[in-house]
Symmetry: D3
Subunit: 321 residues, 6 copies
């Protein structure tokens, strides 16, 4: 249950689920007893909580920023909701993911299946150099892969959930494969490669919390942005692998230009066919997700004002959907 | 042979092929004999020609703006090339098309096959109303169909050849079908319908010559542009067929907004998901064709300045193509 | 009296005037008696009201959204103002209009006189075709005329009152007649005709309530805007009347271009002299009304910040006004 | 006759008319005789001329930049046209004006009549201070009046002829009088005053030749532009006359803001009602003249590309004009 | 002590310092005694105060808008803080300045020293005419000098304190002297002169309160802005002194163009080398001060959102500062 | 002597100086003798030349793109100038430089002195890490240093000569040192460091000919531009030297943002004080050089149209220079 919904319940309501400990301190009550004073969070709300009968063991378990299974009872303190913790335990990775899904904080598709689809795409690459560089980044660099698989695709708006970056990357890559099937002139390996790497800099640009949810930008994210960071990552990978000079240039140019024009963050406009196509398909994936999110807020046959898209969005009547 | 190439040949060279009579007048020579004074054109060049031994029959055949099979010999008059016509005859439609293809003035794909693909798409539409309206426009309105099949997609730049409008329309429609296959939320019938009708106003906007090549804009094309003209055509068709009010609104809105923003000619931005997708896919089809045309002018590993795209286009080295 | 002022009075204050029933329901009280539970509105405020001694006749009279004469006494219920209805009756059209004028919700000039001025202008048109088309729209189409005469000219800012559209239309038309008197080159019939039809699409674009006051945009208003809707209306009228092709084109172009440039909603800039003049005179009428409204809010010799005009407005000292 | 036409005539053609001496030098021929070597100009062309039998008196008459009556015969020298002067004489002011009119270099309306209309307008001003200041500038300052009456309104495009500034000023002032007749709120004296002074800075901004035709900008015209120069002139006049502080502010603000927004040269947008109206009426006068000039270049029912207005201009068919 | 801090103290806290009397009225209490009812202000807060035992002498001292030394005791009236005045006296200019410095309302450098530096710069000018004009403005015009020395440089953001205009002027002038030392081509006297006069119009543009702090714009400040006002002041000074025409033009052009481009308020872009340099150095001084103010609000190693600069500002870690 | 001047001389004129061999081929004449057929260039002109009596040794000396001392006689062949080579020899580096200076192709200051000034600046850096990184780039990387010292600062407009990059870099660095002397808050080491490295990417961006003159952009220059290339170079240097993470970030951010805003090529605006100052000082150095070059083309007291700066440039009369 979302904390935002829980607190609407009457006193005495029971809570059992997986949440983040957003603050934690061991305090001593007036009666001399030790208790835990903490905040419990699920990214939509922070609720204060007391753990009166805290055991020594629990003191170790309950660390700030940990994600734990919590059982508690709803109480009120000075007219504000407060939880009385009955029990805490450490959940498995799988249990955490299920909880995140229920809280609407994960990509709609399964992360492992998405990642398998990505490696399958790489396996189909014919150009040796490109395959090597993609393998190096998306398979060999274990540290990066762990982050990339669960990273959000944005701080807000579209793909701003766990696994959002992977899902967006695959949407662009899949559209790219469809599209180049109909144009003999497009180099399908290059287009696929740049579709896969175009946003990898976001792993260094977006700051995440213990759940993996976006909370803002990192210092280098603000000062250098994901486009430059992604180019630096590709440049380093290329140096390790030893890719031909021209391919390096093509990969870096496609990342540099994928926002399409200077005002949107790309100092060079696409000068290579695959860069141009990438720009449109990237935009299309982002805008489709945003549109669907905004349409959801409108009633059939009605409008919803989207402040992100800066216009009203119309949702057709049910007979057309 | 292109006339531009012919005139580089020495005097006496022979010409036999299909060309347009761009001017024609019957004159009387100083010796009292009647002869034909005309200009022969293939959209790249106009060459003056004399038909000394013109028969009465030929006078009837040789009308201004007709497209005819011409046999002639290259001569020079006051240091400029001039043709002496030996014979003229009326070619078949098929012969004309073959000639146009050789002169690089037709879409790269076969027009009839493209049109069959279009009608097959319409056949697959499930929504009755949309199917009816598409049938009315693309099958029932014979006059429109004849024009639409051979109309250019633009006055210059991309798809500016005979059949270019049909080819561009099908590119957008095919991409649309690919794309919506991966998004359950997209209404595939609406997206297909608006992909097919989005540019039909060009039939009234672009002026063509006897070959069917674009020569500029019509009066209503300049004063009202293809977006409005297309909406008017859809509105009229809807009134004939009796389509639901909301569908009419959706179709017209998607056409009105498909250039994406006011500065690019759309007074309303896309407010419907399918309108947004159409905007990007339309752009993608146009830009891909333009890019390929510009890339062709560069050497592998070199740049070509594109004045249409306002940037340099890079053509990767041969090993990557 | 405006409801906004009424509620500042002490309990027991009497109300008698013409208002809208914004909600109405027949309920049964704890004592078994039937009463009317409603809301009374004058576009500035909605006040809850009870009609305890409701007669059967009154139940028929009191329909949601009706505009009625109401006599009531101010009461308070749970610290909020509430009206106790004493009597309701059906007012005449004339009585309603007087009430609207007092509430500041109507054009400053008399609607019927304005409409007479408009028909007199049409009577003076020399070009037969233009006269026919103007007669068809502004005289023959009774349904349209009824709406047009009382429609607001905008949702907010300038001319956003009952009859505002008619008043703005006549301001533009009168300026147009003055202006062309001094330029022999201007076609006075065309300029007058486009001045009269330029905003007729607003009848379909702006949603009004039972009083006729603007409450937002209609569905087609948002998706297609008044410029396109007006063109469609003119096109349909032209088809009925059978106007020359070029005049149709001129009329539609002048409407299409009257916002002057793409960013302001006109995909084509004015290409005809009369279209250019219309653009400036339309702007001038709108800006003059807005300026006067903003100036009213400033003290003589002082400034008022206008958020609509995005600047400070200065009102000269009294000696200059 | 325009010199541009004269030179198309065969050798021996006779010229008699009023022209400018654009260069003049007394030289000595090989045979020891003195002759005049000069250039004759009518703003469209400069033609070299020789005055073989020059008298001492003529040497005095023939000064560079003088406008004179010239009789001459067309000759050729090294395949270029050359005039042989037969006689020169000093024309009256009236003769000069008639010549200028025939050469299409003067305002279409009579300058003295225009000026009388202007002084009549000033005579009708009720506000004493404004009347005083207008009298000071447009009647009292003889030096200014002489220049102002014949000054061009622009270097090119609209009103770029002798008297063009006066004509444009009166067009704006007359529209202003029409317009404020229908708005009680507009201060008619202020609006008239600012209509009359808005462009007086052009007298110092635009450089003219001996004919009075514009040849470019003066040094201060380039560095300070007419808006600032006009404000300086009004400020100086106000100081002389002793006008109230607020009126001075209003006059200067209306001049400063009359281009409407920063990008068009007005650092402040209109903040006073009369300033806003002036901005639109000034624009309207300029655009109407430009439109008519561009329309003249199109055939009825055809388009003309206007590089000044950056669009195609359509001239309706003759039946509508 | 700032009033904003004082009111956080418990009842009975003592206040002694220099403040402004923002409102003052002599009233009669119910017991017939006369007392002073006033507000005390320090630009951050207005606090109501009572002066029960007011002497006749004090009634004369306590004028609205005066800046006085006040001793008082903190009280509360209806839960809001109120001061009970014990004593008032007239402070010296020096005492006032010290108080302003402590309240953070004065330029960081000493005003008299800054002014001496300015006159020293003028003394070093070699061009007689420029020296004369600078002397006239910055030394001779005592009234102006008194205002200029203490005037704020802006209403908010950078240099918005007493003496801010003088400080900014000297920063630009000092940078100008440094800069031209390395470019022989720059005329050092002209550059210095325009650096000194570029913002003098702010003395008439910005409204100040009794402390000399900016409270908004004057009427002429809003309608004409400081650029025009400064030009008018220079023009008047030049007329008095009798400076060469070209120098007048240069000085006025440099002021007119110093915002660099039309959108930023300069209708002419810099056309003279010294004008171009002035534009950049002016900008640099303003931006450096703003940046430092914004940086102060960030923690070392952290960001601060600047709404003035429309970006996040990063403050490097302490080891780099 | 510039070749452009030489060819105006009569046949037989003698040429002796240092030029580039822009094309060279050994051919055999009809009489069986071997001769050299070449083009001689000085960046302003290419002149064909024949070396009839070519020795074997000379064949080795005369390589395409070599810069050599050439003695020749002016001849004409088919009415076009042609040189007959008498002798060629290999000049010293110093001789080449002197020649370049005379041809106006070198920085006005001595390159070695400029470089010494640069190393002296580095020697004064107090921050160890910054000193290390500057030493690594500007002293340790011999290959880079050789290029950097003679590289042009731009392809055209300002600093587009040999040594122009070094000269511009020092101008910015010197201004930076002056400027920060007056602001305690500016970190002088960081500001100096970023002033020195801000344009180093130009070494990889601009293509030079054998003289070292700019001839266009390199492939990576077009696809990635100097801003990214410079960041990559700094990143690589930092990795070698082992600089603190935050300093790396600061250096890269200052390079990334130094064009000030997205439309001018910087995807991030300056967020660090030193970045902001760098942006203005860089601009100032570039604009000052451009202004001086454009001013040179105007007469004193006159204007020159600058197409680079998009305005007219005024050159004050001689008395003010």
């Amino acid at each position: 249950m979302k904390l935002g919904e829980l607190v609407k319940n009457p006193k005495g309501a029971r809570l059992a689920g997986i949440y983040r400990i957003s603050r934690f301190e061991v305090k001593t009550a007036k009666n001399g007893k030790t208790y835990g004073d903490c905040f419990i969070s699920d990214h939509s709300l922070d609720v204060p909580a007391k753990y009166w009968d805290i055991s020594n063991e629990s003191v170790i378990t309950l660390q700030e920023n940990f994600v734990l299974r919590i059982e508690a009872t709803l109480d009120h303190f000075k007219e504000a909701p407060q939880l009385i913790i009955d029990n805490v335990s450490i959940p498995s990775r799988q249990e955490i993911d299920e909880a995140l899904k229920q809280l609407g904080m994960m990509a709609s598709q399964d992360i492992e299946q998405l990642y398998e689809a990505l490696t399958a795409m790489i396996a189909g690459v014919e150009c040796k150099s490109l395959k090597q560089i993609l393998d190096y980044i998306f398979v060999g660099d274990k540290l990066f892969v762990e982050k990339f698989k669960r990273h959000p695709g944005a701080v807000k708006n579209h793909h701003a959930c766990i696994g959002g970056l992977l899902q967006h990357t695959l949407e662009v890559a899949a559209s790219a494969q469809d599209y180049c099937a109909r144009y003999a002139r497009v180099n399908k390996d290059i287009l696929l490669a740049v579709a896969l790497v175009h946003d990898i800099g976001k792993v260094r640009e977006i700051e995440v919390d213990a759940f993996g949810m976006p909370v803002g930008f990192t210092k280098e994210g603000k000062l250098l942005r994901h486009i430059y960071l992604g180019m630096e990552m590709v440049e380093q990978a290329c140096r390790q692998v030893g890719v031909e000079e021209e391919l390096r240039l093509i990969l870096k140019h496609c990342i540099y230009s994928h926002h399409g024009q200077a005002e949107w963050g790309s100092p060079v406009e696409p000068m290579i066919l695959e860069a141009e196509i990438l720009h449109y398909l990237d935009n299309l994936s982002a805008k489709t997700e945003q549109f669907i999110r905004e349409e959801d807020k409108a009633l059939p046959g009605g409008f919803n004002r989207s402040y992100t898209l800066r216009r009203d969005i119309y949702r057709p009547s049910e007979e057309w959907t």
